[in-house]
Amino acid sequence: MDLFTLITIFVLAIFLGFELISKIPPTLHTPLMSGSNAISGITLVGAVISSGIDDTGFIQVFNMDLGLSSILGFLAVIFATINVVGGFLVTDRMDRMFKKK
């Protein structure tokens, strides 16, 4: 995708973000924060590509010849997955508590 398309998407998405949640009841401040925090784990998409990419020559582990980029990607996959899985589960735990009596 060309640069200007990406910048357009970026600017429009920021405005969309502001419009989407202009009003939030305080009850939901924490779950919204932890939910959106889980969403920011979308970096996982990038991490998956970096981790599986054709890259060799940095270190030998378990008969695998790994490159620096794939190592960094691998670490990123771990952290991003914790962020995503932990974030969505913990948000669900909180959302389940908010029920009417």
């Binding site: 995708m1 990406l6 998407i9 970026f10 998405a13 969309l16 973000g17 502001f18 989407l20 949640i21 202009s22 009003k23 939030i24 305080p26 009850t27 939901l28 401040h29 924490t30 779950p31 919204l32 924060m33 959106s36 925090n37 889980a38 969403i39 920011s40 784990g41 970096t43 996982l44 998409v45 990038g46 991490a47 998956v48 590509i49 970096s50 599986g52 054709d54 490159g67 620096l68 980029s69 794939s70 990607g73 691998f74 990123a76 952290f79 991003a80 997955t81 914790i82 962020n83 995503v84 899985v85 932990g86 974030g87 969505f88 913990v90 669900d92 909180m94 908010f98 009417k100 009596k101």
Partner: protein, 470 residues
């Protein structure tokens, strides 16, 4: 259909699920569904990415996802509700470091970056790094590993500004080497070393920026760091030219900024004022003008009697309730009172606790129905018609000095009008001042009574006493 088209379509679907998800997260009824929508969007995005033709081996991906999912699952299912602020901070930090790692990984692989991609790589690394260590310090403060107090150091602002400027300079060198070439022949440092320097600076800066900010300002800090992690993800999206990262990262960035603004407004302070830190240190210097206030103390018997004669009660919870894990006893007390036909409501200040909505989460965990949790604006006029206000471990948000005392550091902060209630019972562990480091003049008011003790302990005793009297 080739993969390019297929993945673009799938990423759009996933972005739509994120948008619908966030939208639904802002209403109580649909919040849980919204979270599920967002999780589904994430699943689509990751699944589609697995078919990316750049991927040649799956060992590391599968291992990484398994390890991460296991840790994430254990963390999410075992964490106590009272520990939620530090959990959010920690997860947020992990999102930040992931952006740093992906950006660095891409940079290491790329041979001919254009200058725009270099700039976004720099930003992905830099913002990701600041988010990581900043969140870790916030985590440490909330967990009690790092002091909650504001830690000031000499030339604080000068040092931080210098670090930022040096980082931006290095970022420019990165961009220059990959396209602009103005500095050719002047700076010959290879890009790899520059990237390592930027990583180190960003990690250091994250620590230095958050350490001067005190515990009670954490609601602002956590929401701001949340916003940063979104922006870092969006920058990473530019690096790998992926629209779903850009859209999603921007959404999170925007939502974090909105929450940050709400928190700042609730304290009547500017974001800059919070970020510069040191709040709560200043007033100690001018303590000479400290007025002595005469307080009246009540024991459990007298307190119980006051509850028995009341017809309306407003409970004002604060961080002290969270620390003592008293939310369950407080719910028990509220139910006991309701059984005696006493109207019970909770008044929640927006910045009570250590993260946005902290009190709401704790009380929901204890099964207090959210309909009786009132926002400050909804309930502030009701105090005047209320027999009894019970303040549990809240301090600065009830200090009437905020209304009239221009010399007070909390002057102008919207407060809960507890002093307008016929009687106010304040449960605290001691007379120690609150976070702002100032005396609460409420405690000297003729209608104010101090009921000392640990919140959980004091409320249990109160419940027993009320039950015995019936």
């Amino acid at each position: 259909m080739n993969y390019e088209h297929f993945s673009t379509a799938a990423y759009i679907v996933s972005a739509v699920f994120f948008i619908l998800g966030i939208k639904r997260m802002s209403k109580v009824k649909t919040a849980r569904q919204g979270n599920a929508f967002a999780a589904f969007g994430m699943l689509i995005a990751v699944l589609v990415t697995l078919f990316n033709h750049k991927i040649v081996s799956y060992e590391l991906i599968i291992a990484g996802i398994l390890i991460g999912a296991m840790i994430g699952f254990v963390l999410a299912t075992t964490v106590q509700m009272t520990a939620m602020p530090q959990m959010v901070a920690l997860l947020n930090g992990f999102g930040g470091i992931a952006s740093l790692l992906v950006s660095s990984s891409e940079f290491n692989l790329a041979h001919d970056l254009d200058s725009f991609t270099s700039i976004t790589t720099f930003l992905g690394i830099f913002i990701g790094g600041v988010t990581f260590t900043g969140s870790l310090i916030a985590f440490g403060k909330l967990q009690g590993i790092v002091t909650e107090k504001s830690v000031m150091y000499p030339m604080q602002h000068f040092i931080n500004l210098t670090l930022i400027l040096v980082s931006v300079g290095l970022g420019y060198v990165m961009a220059d080497q990959s396209g602009i070439h103005l500095l050719d022949g002047i700076i010959e440092t290879p890009s790899h070393e520059i990237v390592i320097a930027i990583v180190v600076l960003a990690l250091l800066l994250g620590v230095l920026l958050v350490i001067p900010i005190g515990g009670a300002d954490m609601p602002v800090v956590i929401s701001l760091l949340n916003s940063y992690s979104g922006i870092a993800a969006a920058m990473t999206g530019f690096v790998i030219q992926n629209s779903v990262l850009i859209i999603t990262g921007s959404l999170v960035g925007a939502s974090g900024i909105i929450l940050t603004q709400i928190m700042c407004k609730s304290m009547n302070r500017s974001l800059l004022n919070v970020l510069l830190g040191g709040f709560g240190n200043a007033p100690a210097a001018k303590s000479g003008e400290k007025k002595d206030i005469i307080i009246k103390e009540v024991g459990v018997e007298e307190a119980a009697m006051l509850f028995e004669t009341a017809t309306s009660v407003i409970i004002v919870p604060g961080y002290g309730m969270a620390v003592a894990q008293a939310q369950h006893v407080v719910r028990e007390l509220s139910e006991l009172l309701q059984k005696r036909d006493i109207t019970v409501k909770f008044a929640i200040h927006p910045v009570a606790g250590r993260m946005p909505g902290h009190m709401n989460v704790l009380l929901a965990e204890a099964n207090v129905p959210y309909e009786i949790l009132m926002e400050m604006d909804q309930i502030n006029d009701e105090f005047a018609n209320t027999d009894l206000a019970l303040v549990i471990g809240a301090n600065d948000v009830t200090n009437p000095a905020a209304r009239h005392d221009k010399s007070s550091p909390i002057y102008g902060m919207p407060i809960l009008n507890v002093d307008k209630a016929r009687t106010v019972i304040i449960n605290k562990r001691s007379m120690k001042p609150g976070y702002a480091g100032i005396e609460n003049e409420l405690y000297g008011f003729p209608n104010a009574l101090m009921y000392f003790g640990d919140a959980k302990d004091a409320m249990s005793k109160l419940i027993t006493e009320i039950k015995e009297n019936s």
